[in-house]
Symmetry: C2
Subunit: 199 residues, 2 copies
């Protein structure tokens, strides 16, 4: 039986999961969530994820929340050591960038998009400043490496790319950051790549 | 040669690393950082961590930033499968709570403490509301389990406990959450436990 993804097409966090599963050729049953009516905050979804958020991933009896944690699961179960190695240094180096996706990218280009595209009330100045910092930090790394964490693509790249590539929907396109732009292009060129609206 | 931790005694994020190393009996060379004068934002530290933050962890040639990623490294290198298992479900279940430490806890009790104790300019109302949500979510889990991720202590507990236990320094003690309070006590009772100021 295919794993289930409780999904929203316009969510970059849901897209990450769809993208990794496409790259690894993992079949997925997509269950669209009626986000506008708040289905993720009511039964039965709130019982699957008390955080009241999507994506939610279900594989047999296992239910997982948080897009980064779901990437960890998919990579470990279906991706061998390639997308998420288990040696201490490799796992920690990938984890550093998963944390950037969870923290700085969420509070930067993701927040800016939530404000501009979805009308969230938040400090848009702060979000844009955070986004500029994020792009600068990514540029610094990607000016000297093709991929974020290791010498090959990993879930670090899958976790960080979407909200960077969606920056223009929050008024913060990564235009002045050539290494970042090239890296987004490299992710898009991976065999099996799929897009989402605006990527 | 012992691994090095660029450290601030009052930082809960640095404390997490000290705590896990103490529990695993890993020797650590502590290098105090002059945080007030901004040493973490200048050479030589900014070259070790372009994010301009501490903790920074150095083990031989490997340099790591981000407290959660450092916990991953220490657990994988010195903790066997116990503190961070590598099977897909176990690794993902621990990762879910590492992400909560990186995101919701950082934007909740940690931000509230940064405001109250260190004078950071941020939306304190939002931080306190986030903290209440965090405590509620932890309570829900801990009302039916002794530990956050699995049936034993893992780095999920080490990552999440400090800023919860420091909540009173941000005006948000987890007093009305008995399962959370009991869990903090269980972490404090682990063999080899060390504290920090206010914990």
């Amino acid at each position: 039986m295919a794993a289930k993804l409780y999904d929203l097409e316009l969510s970059g966090n849901c897209y990450k999961v769809r993208l990794l599963c496409a790259l690894l050729d993992v079949p997925l049953e997509i269950i669209p969530v009626d986000f506008l009516s708040g289905a993720h905050k009511k039964a039965p979804l709130i019982d699957l994820n008390p955080f009241g958020e999507i994506p939610i991933f279900q594989d047999g009896d296992l239910v997982l929340r948080d897009s980064q944690a779901i990437l960890v699961y998919v990579a470990r179960k279906w991706g061998g050591e390639s997308w998420l190695p288990t040696d201490p240094a490799g796992l920690a180096q990938v984890s550093q960038w998963l944390m950037m996706a969870e923290n700085e990218i969420a509070r930067g280009p993701n927040d800016a998009r939530l404000h501009d595209k979805f009308g969230y009330k938040l400090d848009i100045e702060r979000a844009r400043n955070n986004a500029a910092r994020v792009f600068g930090l990514l540029e610094k790394r990607l000016a000297k490496a093709h991929w974020l964490a290791l010498d090959r693509p990993t879930i670090a790249d899958i976790a960080c790319m979407p909200y960077v590539a969606l920056g223009h929907e929050g008024g913060v396109p990564p235009d002045g950051f050539p290494a970042v732009t090239s890296w987004v292009g490299r992710v898009k060129a991976l065999p099996g790549f799929i897009g989402m609206p605006a990527i």
